[in-house]
Structure formats: structure tokens, C-alpha cells
Symmetry: C2
Subunit: 377 residues, 2 copies
């Protein structure tokens, strides 16, 4: 079969192709979050459920008949191959386990990009208003850049404003970023972000639960937001008016037990009002920089952010690599060499040399196999 | 005796003059927060303790002898009368009961001003950085004005920056404001705020625990900050760098079980870093406007701030008096006429007329003897 070079099964960690095409079929038959479909897939599995639907023994109402008749799996697969879009389903290596916590998980996920979906594991959603201010755009870019520089996937929705700034920040760091769209992957949305989405696919992934050709409707944005919340370890809202959809993402994240944080801003800015409401009313964490976000989402299980403090002079004089290493050392527990490598992506000889220098100027100390920050009193 | 027209006892609710002059003497003998003096006053009372000190039976070290020899109570009382400074002590009507919670309460309080010290009961401390930004000054002025307009005493330290802005906002509303100084009341501190302090005395009070002539030293600022925290129902920090003394006021307020709140600002502003740290690390409440502060300090025991919401058109069309009345109605419980009068300082006929109009446009409803807000869904 010449079909599906892109979508061929990939060894032990891939789910069966039979199930893959059954899920592709189901994703073309039903809207996301259709409860009866969720129930059928759970009860019978997608292959058996599809067989029963075709046999007329599953749905007495006949409401899927029309879409079932026009369903052309082979044609759909050819389009996916042409656009280099993979179909990722439960059981695949890079299926994001977090989405299984949703009342109605996605039936499958359409993915384009070199990075693949594995990037979202431990990733952080950076979301916010389309009508962002220069302040919000600056902060979103810095957070995207800072997270990506630490190897943490930056997940967002590619919308105008905060979303795009977060993606661009991550791209600037050459780091992983994943965009979740509210339409099929045949077109960019918004269209003006066609180039941005290409760059994201180059360095990460563009994802949707919607089949090719499906357009963005209001309820599909809400469905998309739940995916962003569920895929990630935490959601940070950078700027949001009181009716921003990003508050919806934050609420879903909180309901799923994910970390929720918001960036404060001037109380005179309507674009920060939603952030302040999140902190006041829902107990979202107030975060002011990347380090606080990293500590919040518990990377390497560190349990506290470094308290804000006035910069020390020794710290201010470090070169960029040394500063990055110093910044990456978690406050309370320190880190061992392997952890520091993961956090900094600095090679071992350089890392050891930098740690030696930091030790010499009294900024770190070695404690058996761990390095710890020495903080001013 | 022609002395002390200002400081004559004022009937049943005033403490005895004998105790008053003994406390005045003690305040001139010891620095604020001297633990052994606190203990002596508690054990013997100020009159007996002073007699024992004079008899040489209280303090074997003799460390108070020099000040005791130069002590001239009559001269001190003449200066106080000339400057119209009262000595307020425990048992007086307007002694702020909150200060008794301190490990070392003030021995007495020197007070100048028409308003008297009773204003601080249920009052709110609005404090912050000397090096405030235009943003912080604007917010502090608005909070001072908003609180005073509701009849809530605005307590601060008359320093440059946030303190002065809060006082000025309160004065602009013609409302009560109290300034607590870190020096004796014979001079303005800072000197540039001489006019401001006169205005504060005209509409409220200027207070110190330090005798006339005593200069502001560092530890006296810290002592002053504890008074601001202890006198008030809550402390709001508007802007604070990471080493601002206002954080010290906030910590004292928290330790005394007072409400502590902070105003967020841009994360790029060092003058908001202390506020963000308070919210992040100590659980201070994030507040964005006067209504949130009022609800926080529990005036009339209201227990929740109105959730932030997009402005409704009916509300936006109200005249200033109607808007003030509408804003003053607590969200959950509403308020009766007496409470609304206290909150708004609007006379009864006007208040009833305004409530009638608000009812007619559907913004309030009457529920037996209470008026409640009708909120948009």
C-alpha cells in the first residue's frame, strides 16, 4: 500500500493502524466533545464502534448516516500524507496522556511538525489576550524565550497577541513550541500567521483535533482551549480582559489539577484585569518571570521559587553562560550534573568549568553530588 | 492650674491626669519598645513605676538617672499646649486599642489635629515606597480618595511618594486621614511636607509616640511602622521595592492578624517587586481598587469583594452621587439605610431619592430594610 508513509505505524510504541483509521473516521463523523461518541469509543473501542455504526446497530437516530456515507478514508489519508500531517492516537509514543483526564478526550490528534507531540509533556501553556498591550507582548515573548531556553515546551494557540508572542519568544530561543489550532491543519489560522505556523512546525509542532478542512467556529475555540490546558503541566495567563477566552483555558487547567498562574500588570490596564481576577478569586499563582513559572510547574520537583531579591554584584558580573547556569540551579535543593545539563543544555566540560568558576567567586557550593546556590544573607 | 487646657481630662472616658503625666514622663525617659519599661508599666502602672524609679528602687543600673534629672514635666506640658498637642493614653476615648496587641505598645501618643485619634478605628494604612512611580502615585491617590469618601480613615506616614499621595487623596475627598510620624510633633517630617501635615491636622490628626524635639532615627522609623500596622484594620502596600520599609509595616500587620493587601503593577517595575513578593510569598491579598480594599477590611462585616466585571451600561450612565451610592452597596449582603449613610455620607432624603432612582433602572432592589445590588448575569 503506497498510502501513509507519514502515518505508517512506528514499531512497538505505536497503536495499531486499524485503530488509527477508525479514529480518523470517527473524528470526521462527530464534533469534538460529543458525549455519546466518547461513551461508544470507551465501551466498544473505535474499530468495533465503527463497525456497529456501519451495521446500524449503534445509533438508532441515524444522525451520523450522512457523514458516514460521504466518508472517504483513503482520500483523507492521501491529503494528510500530502500535507505531512500525522494522526496521533492513544497508545502512540507521543500521545499526550494529560488529555485522557478530559471528560471528552480528543478522538485523535492531527500533528504537523518536526518536533512531534512529545514536546508538550511537562510543557507550559502561555496564553492570553488577542488585544494585548506592548507590556503583555514583551512579557509573553520573554516567558516563551525563557521557557524554551530551559527546554520546556511552550504551548499556545497561535492567535494574535499573547499567543503569537509566546511562540515567537520560544522560536527566538530555538526552542520547542507547540501550537494547538481550532481548525483543520490544511490552512493557517489566523491566515496572517501562515509564516509563524511554518516556523513552529519547523521547530516544534502544530496540532488540532479537527480534520483537514474543518473551519474554526466558536465552540471549537473552547474545545481547543481545553486541549491546551490538558496537554500541559501548567497554564500561565499573561494578559487577559475579563471576558478573554484564556480565562477559560485557565479554569480548565485548574479543574484538571494543573498549575495556573497569571502575570500581574497595572491595575489601570483592562488587559490585566482578568489576570488579577484569576489571582484574587481563583487562587492562581502570581508569577513575574520565567524562574517562577519553572518552579511552579515543578520541573525536577523543586518546590519553591527563589524569593525575589535585589541583584548581587557578583551575580551581575557573570558572563551569559555562567549566568544561565547559576540561574538554573534550583534554590532549595540544588541540582546534580545531569539535572543541570537538562536545564541548561550546556556541555559537560563547559558546565564543570562554569561551576568551578561560580564556586571560586562564592556563588555556588558543591555538596556531595549536588551544586547549590550560595545566597546573600 | 493654668497648664494643659489642651490636655485637661475630658470626663468619664478619659484616663486620670496623674497617669497621663506619668506616661508623658516615661515617654521622655525611654526609647519606644524598651522591654524593661514595658514590663515595669505593666507590673506597677506608670505612676507607681515612676515613683519607684525616682526612689531608686526600680532600676539598679541607674541608666535612666540622667534623663530623670533633666525631666521637666511642666515645661513639656507648656510646649504641648502651645503646639496644641494632646497626650492620649490607654483609657482615653480615642486610644487606639489595636496598639495594645504590640509586644511593646506606645507609652502614650502625642496627637495634633481636629479629627482626633478615633479616626483610625477601622481605618486602613496605605503605605509604600518613597521612590514611587507616577503609576503608584496615581493608585495611592485614588485609594486614599476612595477610602476617605467612604468615611474610612486613611493612615500613613507622610513620607514622600506613596504616603503623601494617599494622604492627599484623602484630603481631596475632604475625608479623614491620620499621619504617624517618626519624630516629635514640634517639626514637620519631612520638612517639605509642613503644609501637607497642617492640612492633615485640619482634617484628621498627626500622631507620634515620640516626645517633642525627638529626631527621626532609623529604629524610630521601624517603631513608627509598627504603630501604623497596629492602629489600623488593614495595610495596603501600593508600591514597594524589595527593601522598602513598607514591607516591614505589612509584615507587622500580618503578624498582628490584620488584613494585608498589595496592589500589583508591571512586573518590569522594581517598585512593584515588593508588592508581588508580598502576594506570592506571604499570601497578601491582591487588590486593584477601593472597593476591594473596603471589602477586605470587612467594614460592616462584608465578606467578599464584588467580582471584577465589565462595566454595565446602566451603571456607566449614573451621576456621581448615584454612582457613589451604588458603589457603596456591598455585594453579598446589601446594606440598610444607616449603613449606607455611614458609607456614603449622603443625607437621608438624597439617599432615599437616589435609591429610588437606582431601583427604577434595575440596579438595586429593596429587600425588607436592606438595599441590594442587582448584578448582571
Amino acid at each position: 500500500m503506497t498510502l501513509s508513509v507519514i502515518n505508517a505505524g512506528r514499531g512497538a510504541a505505536s497503536a495499531s493502524d486499524e485503530e488509527r483509521w477508525a479514529r480518523l473516521a470517527w473524528s470526521r463523523l462527530a464534533e469534538p466533545q460529543t458525549e455519546e461518541v466518547t461513551a461508544w469509543l470507551r465501551r466498544h473501542g473505535p474499530v468495533e464502534a465503527l463497525a456497529r455504526l456501519r451495521a446500524g446497530s449503534l445509533d438508532p437516530t441515524g444522525r451520523y448516516d450522512q457523514r458516514l456515507e460521504s466518508l472517504d478514508i483513503d482520500s483523507a489519508r492521501r491529503s494528510l500524507d500530502r500535507l505531512e500531517v500525522r494522526v496521533v492516537i492513544p497508545g502512540d509514543d507521543d500521545w499526550p496522556e494529560g488529555v485522557e483526564q478530559l471528560a471528552n478526550p480528543p478522538i485523535c490528534l492531527y500533528v504537523r511538525g518536526r518536533g512531534g507531540l512529545g514536546l508538550v509533556e511537562g510543557g507550559v501553556a502561555v496564553v492570553g489576550s488577542r488585544a494585548a498591550t506592548p507590556y503583555g507582548l514583551t512579557i509573553a515573548t520573554e516567558l516563551g524565550e525563557g521557557l524554551a531556553a530551559r527546554g520546556i515546551g511552550v504551548v499556545s494557540g497561535a492567535a494574535f497577541g499573547i499567543d503569537a508572542a509566546a511562540h515567537r519568544g520560544a522560536l527566538a530561543a530555538g526552542g520547542p513550541t507547540v501550537s494547538v489550532l481550532a481548525r483543520g491543519l490544511d490552512r493557517a489560522y489566523p491566515a496572517a500567521h501562515d509564516g509563524l505556523l511554518r516556523d513552529i512546525a519547523e521547530h516544534g509542532a502544530v496540532v488540532s483535533e479537527l480534520p483537514l478542512g474543518w473551519a474554526p467556529f466558536r465552540h471549537r475555540f473552547l474545545a481547543r482551549n481545553r486541549l491546551i490546558a490538558a496537554m500541559t503541566a501548567g497554564t500561565v495567563v499573561v494578559e487577559a480582559g475579563l471576558r478573554s477566552g484564556s480565562l477559560n483555558t485557565a479554569r480548565t487547567a485548574a479543574a484538571l489539577g494543573r498549575h495556573v498562574a497569571a502575570v500581574p500588570g497595572p491595575v489601570t490596564s483592562v488587559q490585566s484585569a482578568g489576570c488579577h481576577e484569576l489571582i484574587r478569586e481563583t487562587g492562581a499563582s502570581l508569577v513575574t518571570d520565567t524562574a517562577e513559572v519553572v518552579d511552579l510547574v515543578g520541573r525536577l520537583s523543586f518546590d519553591a521559587a527563589a524569593p525575589a531579591r535585589a541583584p548581587s554584584s557578583a551575580e551581575a558580573e557573570l558572563d551569559p553562560v555562567a549566568h544561565a547556569v547559576w540561574s538554573a540551579i534550583p534554590l532549595r535543593r540544588g541540582a546534580d550534573l545531569a539535572a543541570l545539563q537538562r536545564l541548561t543544555a550546556v556541555d559537560t566540560p563547559t558546565l564543570l568549568s562554569v561551576l568551578g568558576r561560580l564556586g571560586a567567586v562564592g556563588l555556588v557550593r558543591r555538596d556531595q553530588d549536588r551544586w547549590r546556590k550560595v545566597l546573600p544573607d
